[in-house]
């Protein structure tokens, strides 16, 4: 019983962490129409940033500043935001697919640098030497995980309400206006490039928080955690939930993460040994089919965006 319960806590923790990233992506894609092809780079910047700032000093690489944990997490998220600002500044004023290509390139490069720069990131063997905050105070691992889950849930809920406020605010309206008709927005004296940059950086900051929490949860991060697969998974979660709908994004995360872990478990449990080495391959095909299938038959997702109409518009 306790086994199932602790697995449940584990599952919900990871899904909630990923849900935060999906919410961040939703601000970029769902509300603003920005294609981020390298979600994992911003996720990774948050993860590596948090561990480098909050970890204990290591002999073989830099970092280990032993910062107070919330500050470390904030620093990680800021690293992600900074990366986003840099990429956004270069590409957001160009044709829309430049952003897609550049973010995709950032993700490839990020993984590549983390894998090779041993003095900085620990290289392929990953970044160790991080102690989870307050872990010594709680003797029982299960209690600790439960408490950690509570913290994640609080952050998830705060992010959700923050984004809901943003979407309903005049700024949110502006985002949708730019997404729907840039020329019209420009004619009203708005600056689409700047607004898009704000949305992109804010979204990446949120993805960075998610990455920081993910690395904290495992107290470890390695290049294996920042493979392009994660980008595809996060995208599938958003498109299934419904781009533009924050509640849908969270539900989509739980659905896809559930399907991913269940399929992985069943493949390793029931599939013959010869097929098992293709387990990952089959799962990727599944994710690809989900993405293409949703776009073809249900592009608004399971929970379509609710169009907000202003009071004057209703009359």
């Amino acid at each position: 019983m306790i086994g199932i319960l602790s697995y449940l806590v584990f599952f919900v923790s990871i899904a909630s962490i990923l849900a935060i990233a999906v919410l961040g992506l939703n601000l970029q894609w769902g509300n603003t129409g920005l294609f981020n092809g390298g979600v994992v780079a911003f996720f990774g910047a948050g993860a590596y940033g948090t561990l480098l700032l909050g970890g204990t000093p290591q002999p073989d690489h830099i970092g280990g500043f032993e910062l107070f944990y919330p500050l470390a997490l904030l620093g990680g998220a800021c690293a992600a935001a900074l990366l986003a600002w840099f990429v956004g500044k270069l590409t957001l004023h160009l044709r829309h697919d430049y952003l897609a290509i550049a973010t995709f390139g950032v993700a490839v490069t990020f993984e590549n640098i983390m894998r090779n720069a041993e003095g900085f990131s620990g290289g392929a063997k990953g970044l160790r030497g991080f102690e989870r905050p307050l872990e010594n105070w709680v003797s029982n691992g299960f209690t600790y995980n439960l408490a950690f889950l509570t913290c994640i849930a609080v952050i998830l809920i705060c992010t959700y309400f923050f984004l809901e406020r943003v979407v309903q605010s005049p700024f949110g309206r502006l985002l949708r206006a730019i997404r729907e008709d840039e020329v019209a927005a420009r004619s009203l004296g708005k600056n689409p490039d700047r607004i898009r940059l704000i949305a992109f950086v804010t979204g990446s900051f949120i993805v960075g928080v998610s990455g920081g929490l993910y690395a904290t949860f495992y107290a470890f991060v390695s290049p294996q955690d920042v493979l392009p697969t994660l980008t595809f998974q996060i995208w599938a979660m958003l498109i299934v939930g419904g781009a533009g709908n924050n509640r849908g994004a969270i539900i989509g995360t739980f659905l896809i993460w559930g399907a991913w872990t269940t399929s992985g478990w069943s493949l390793s449990r029931f599939a013959p040994v010869e097929i098992q080495i293709y387990g990952g391959t089959l799962q990727y095909i599944m994710i690809g089919l989900v993405i293409v299938g949703m776009l073809l038959w249900k592009p608004q997702g399971l929970f379509p965006e609710k169009l907000v109409m202003s009071n004057s518009g209703k009359k």
């Binding site: 430049y98 550049a102 390139g105 095909i285």
Partner: protein, 304 residues
């Protein structure tokens, strides 16, 4: 130094072939096609299958064309692979891209191409196995071009370079001298205006996919011939090919050719100063530099 330059030119020729198709699709259909590099994989694997088929039916074809490791069977297989890949590109467009295009959302196309790439790459892995394979197990020794500085070139590489250049010249002739080529350029320039002038848009789009697929298949076979065939060809080449199109300027066929060589040479030259582990990141560095200096590419025009 000279060796890196030579290797870079050879890789560049392959990238150019991939980039020509991509730049045409990106310009006319207005979306970044992340699944274009998978067409190279499809080409490489169809050639592998056809090669085995032809060698099986007519064993005399399995003889290598001296001094290459390439056999007559593979040469025939390459032609088949080019048509098969052109066909695949058409089929993918019919079932996925065309249907999304009709809904009128360009960004969803980018997104869908991500999904398509994931499906193709992993289906190839599932069918042919995850290990890399070779067209020929014969070892071909490199020829010493000069001793000081030491430059080594394999006959296959020279063949690939010459073949790639011939294909590009044919493309140039086709685009600049034939009515069909004019029509194609008209569509890329202004689709609605071209339609009013009596050009069938749907036919031209189909033609662009076929050309993209055919050139990608050639690039894929050449890559397989000089390296190896594996399901991750697409994953490894997608970024360099994108870099080539951006360097050349989206929509410029000649820019794509030049871009391919620039990316190939720069990536190989960078290995002189950087550890080889960093080479996958090089195309992105090139993209960054270009966006800073000349955002619309060397031959690109400003467009929104």
């Amino acid at each position: 130094m000279i060796q890196s330059l030579t290797d870079g030119i050879l890789v560049g020729a392959i990238l150019s072939l991939g980039a020509i198709g991509l730049t045409m699709v990106m310009h006319t259909l207005r979306f970044a096609n992340f699944s274009h590099a998978e067409l190279l994989s499809i080409g490489a694997y169809s050639a592998l299958v056809c090669d085995a088929l032809f060698s099986g039916i007519l064993p005399s074809l399995a003889a290598a064309i001296s001094p290459l490791s390439m056999t007559w069977a593979l040469a025939l297989a390459m032609v088949c692979a080019m048509s098969l890949t052109g066909l695949s590109a058409l089929i993918i467009d019919k079932f996925v891209f065309k249907r999304i295009r009709e809904k009128g959302d360009e960004l969803s196309m980018v997104f869908a191409s991500f999904g398509v790439a994931l499906i193709i790459r992993n289906l190839l892995g599932l069918i042919f196995g995850l290990k890399s394979q070779l067209y020929s197990k014969d070892i071909v020794f490199a020829v010493v071009l000069s001793h000081d500085p030491l430059v080594l070139v394999k006959p296959d590489q020279v063949f690939v370079l010459i073949a790639a250049v011939i294909i590009m010249l044919v493309m140039h002739y086709f685009l600049s001298r034939t009515t069909l080529g004019y029509a194609l350029r008209a569509v890329a320039e202004n689709a609605s205006l071209a339609e009013v002038s009596g050009i069938r848009l749907s036919h031209m789009i189909a033609l662009i996919w076929v050309i993209g697929g055919v050139l990608a298949a050639a690039a894929g076979v050449f890559y397989g011939l000089t390296n190896h065939v594996s399901p991750v060809i697409g994953r490894d080449l997608v970024l360099p090919i994108f870099a080539a199109t951006i360097v050349g300027g989206i929509g410029s066929v000649y820019g794509a050719v030049l871009g391919g060589f620039v990316v190939g040479i720069a990536t190989n030259m960078a290995l002189l100063v950087l550890p080889s582990g960093y080479s996958p990141a090089m195309p992105f560095v090139i993209i960054l530099v270009l966006l800073l200096v000349r955002p619309n590419g060397l031959f690109g025009e400003t467009q929104t």
